[in-house]
């Protein structure tokens, strides 16, 4: 069976405010008004997020990380969603939401611990409202729904955003999360980055209909947005979060985008997709269209773009230095935090390992 080339849909159902050529267009249901500083800020975010990703990929290639899950091509989807979130909102990511983490104020260095193998999530989710990465596909959508039900019970003025991908849309947990959030009208936004590929499986293997249309069957609205258009993603995400906060229940956002890199650094996409497809999507690059827009309108000049590149270099240096400073944990820490209240069994095993390790002291 031939692998089909997935053509981006740009029909009327796709919300777009900035064309791939960098032209501002209007949409009847979604609009956005930003200051020049905010437009420039979004561009800066996109560039810095891509730089986080390329630096981490380089660190993996140099043996400093065991693995990296690249977000290349999905910067606009993540920055648009991430910048729509406010401090009191809580995000439940997959393992690829480095851009959302950045927008939530999580230091990119702390994202690396998991991939370097020195911890399983180096940040406190409560600090920035950003849960640990979730690797089992789709599990976090139920966590997000539960958190949103907690907000309801607290009478809190916040919302939750659950991130997942096109592959996860087939998982039972995601469908259960749709049911639960719908019947309880929980303040959660389901943000699906449809990057066209679940490792080697194309979207056609997950769904016979556009993913956003699934929402209708669960009783809440679904919308497809150009995931490479940061302005449209920001507008659609803000509207969905506002809808959630005002008690109108969940929304499914399908951010139509493309995974320009491999699934992870262990993957080889040449085995399952054509190079021409990537070339097609490069023409829709999320950063290039924003740069064209800023240039065309005179909102930014060379000095600005150079300054952003310099900031990206500084961020990369910070990530590199921070990564190299992430030391291996001590062996006995493997018993730490299995339980909040401790365990007599683990106390015994810790003593055994300590005694065993201690038996080598002084030996050669």
């Amino acid at each position: 069976m031939a692998v089909q080339s997935v053509q981006p849909s740009e029909g009327p159902e796709l919300v777009q405010l900035l064309t791939p050529e960098g032209e501002r267009v209007e949409h009847p249901d979604y609009s956005i008004e930003l200051t020049e500083d905010e437009y420039r800020g979004l561009y800066r975010d996109l560039v810095l997020v891509r730089r986080i990703d390329t630096e981490a990929t380089a660190l993996q290639r140099q043996g400093e990380l065991g693995l990296w899950a690249s977000l290349l091509g999905q910067e606009a989807a993540q920055v648009g969603a991430g910048r729509a979130l406010v401090d009191r909102d809580f995000a439940f990511p997959t393992y690829r939401e480095h851009g959302v983490a950045y927008c939530k104020g999580v230091d990119p260095v702390t994202l690396l611990g998991l991939f370097r193998g020195v911890n399983q999530g180096g940040w406190n989710p409560h600090d920035k409202g950003f849960q640990l990465y979730t690797i089992v596909i789709g599990s976090q959508t139920l966590h997000a729904t539960g958190y949103a039900m907690g907000l309801q019970r607290d009478g809190a003025d916040g919302a939750v955003m659950a991130f997942f991908g096109d592959g996860a849309s087939s998982q039972g947990d995601v469908n259960e999360a749709f049911v639960w959030s719908s019947v309880f009208q929980a303040p959660v936004v389901f943000f699906c980055q449809n990057n066209q590929w679940a490792i080697s499986e194309p979207l056609e293997r997950q769904s016979r209909i556009p993913l956003y249309e699934r929402a209708k069957g669960f009783g809440f609205p679904g919308v497809r947005v150009d995931g490479n258009d940061v302005l449209a993603v920001l507008a659609v995400s803000r509207a969905a979060l506002e809808r959630a906060r005002e008690g109108s229940g969940p929304t499914l956002i399908e951010a139509y985008t493309y995974r320009m890199g491999p699934h992870t650094t262990s993957d080889d996409p040449t085995r399952y997709r054509l190079a021409a497809e990537l070339e097609t999507w490069k023409l829709k690059d999320p950063i290039e269209r924003m740069k064209a827009y800023l240039s065309r309108t005179g909102m930014a000049d060379h000095d600005f773009f150079d300054a952003v590149d310099t900031a990206a270099d500084e961020l990369a240096a910070h990530i590199r230095a921070g990564c190299l400073a992430l030391d291996d944990p001590q062996p006995l820490t493997l018993f730490d935090n299995v339980y909040a209240g401790g365990s007599s069994l683990l106390d015994e095993e810790r003593e055994q390992l300590a005694a065993y390790l201690g038996s080598f002291e002084g030996a050669h």
Binding site: G122, S139, G146, Y147
Partner: protein, 327 residues
């Protein structure tokens, strides 16, 4: 203040009521737990008194029950999830072992999972398939979970409250065929012991029966029957299945020098196997015979008309006692 005679099911109900009264963050969630009061009526009347936001009738989706409990815990709640029957826990298995059990560990202690997962377990009620299973070994095998089983109304009343107060996730097994057993429960007396302690429920000198949940009563009946033949059997109710109170277990076996583990769960690679291995290791010099196991057979739970042949009963237990002492 004197006690009240309660069934095990009602004792759980009263314990849950106390937990809801004592901590506004405690929630009860599950299928039919609200309006109906649970298929075993363990949550009877609680939704009426505490409201639909705290006693939640959920969609029929076990992974959803546990998965949303994870999110509620992150938000600071203390969910008590009811899985309607033992055989229905497996749709939630992934959320329990991959998410609930590991969250505190992988978050370096930043995220607590004070979730209690109640599961009616075990057979002997003449039920159709998937309603009589003993899946505790799966959960005991999973680091990050604590697992307990109550065997009588007094423990049911106190243990459910202690489990809910715990900051660790606890799988709480309830012996469904003992729901209607009665005993006097005195709420003013205070919890008689820690949730993690085993209890010598019948002292004896010749052989130790190590057991839990519904089999505790079976073992006590076996010990009473054996007494008429001059046998002096000690029965230890493990109560906490993970971790196990080895101090109490080992002290008993060192005294009697004979040990038999009794459980309804399939014997192969079971919690009973862990108990037997551990006792053999720790009591090697004191044991006068190999540790025996009287458990369910390594088959799927059978049809109800032959479940009595599958379940450990007085005769199989006493046969093992004879073999142990004759070794």
């Amino acid at each position: 203040m004197s006690g009240t005679t309660l069934t095990l099911g009602k004792a759980l109900n009263e314990g849950l009521r106390k937990a809801l009264e004592n901590d506004p963050k405690v929630l009860i969630m599950g299928e039919d737990v609200g309006r109906l009061g649970g298929v075993f009526r363990v949550t009877d009347g609680l939704q009426k008194d505490f409201g639909e936001d705290r006693v939640i009738d959920t969609p029929l989706a076990e992974s959803g029950i546990v998965g949303t409990a994870v999110g509620l815990s992150i938000r600071g709640f203390r969910p008590v999830c009811e899985i309607q029957f033992d055989g229905f826990v497996f749709p939630a298995f992934d959320q329990i072992v991959s998410q609930v059990a590991k969250m505190h560990y992988r978050s370096a202690g930043n995220v607590k999972m004070p979730i209690t997962i109640r599961i009616p377990f075990g057979g002997g009620i003449g039920a159709v398939e998937h309603h009589s299973e003993s899946p505790e070994s799966y959960f005991c095998h999973t680091p990050g979970l604590k697992v307990v089983a109550c065997s009588n109304p007094v423990d049911a009343y106190w243990m459910i409250q202690q489990a809910i107060e715990s900051d660790d996730p606890i799988v709480f097994f309830e012996p469904k065929r003992r729901y209607w057993d009665k005993a006097e429960v005195d709420p003013s007396a205070g919890a008689p012991r820690s949730l993690w302690n085993a209890e010598v429920v019948r002292p004896g000198s010749e052989v130790t029966l190590l057991t839990y949940g519904p089999s505790v009563k079976t073992c006590l009946e076996a010990a009473a029957a054996a007494e008429t033949e001059g046998r002096d059997i000690e029965v230890v109710d493990l109560r906490s299945l993970s971790p196990i109170d080895w101090e109490t277990v080992i002290a008993s076996v060192r005294k009697t020098q004979h040990a038999i583990v009794v459980s309804e769960a399939p014997v192969y690679a079971s919690l009973a196997a862990e108990v037997a291995a551990r006792v053999s290791e720790k009591c090697f010099y004191e044991l006068e015979s190999p540790v025996l196991r009287v458990c369910g057979f390594s088959t799927p739970y059978p049809t109800s008309r032959i479940e009595e042949d599958y379940l450990p009963d007085l005769d199989r237990i006493l046969d093992a006692v004879d073999r142990s002492l004759a070794f």
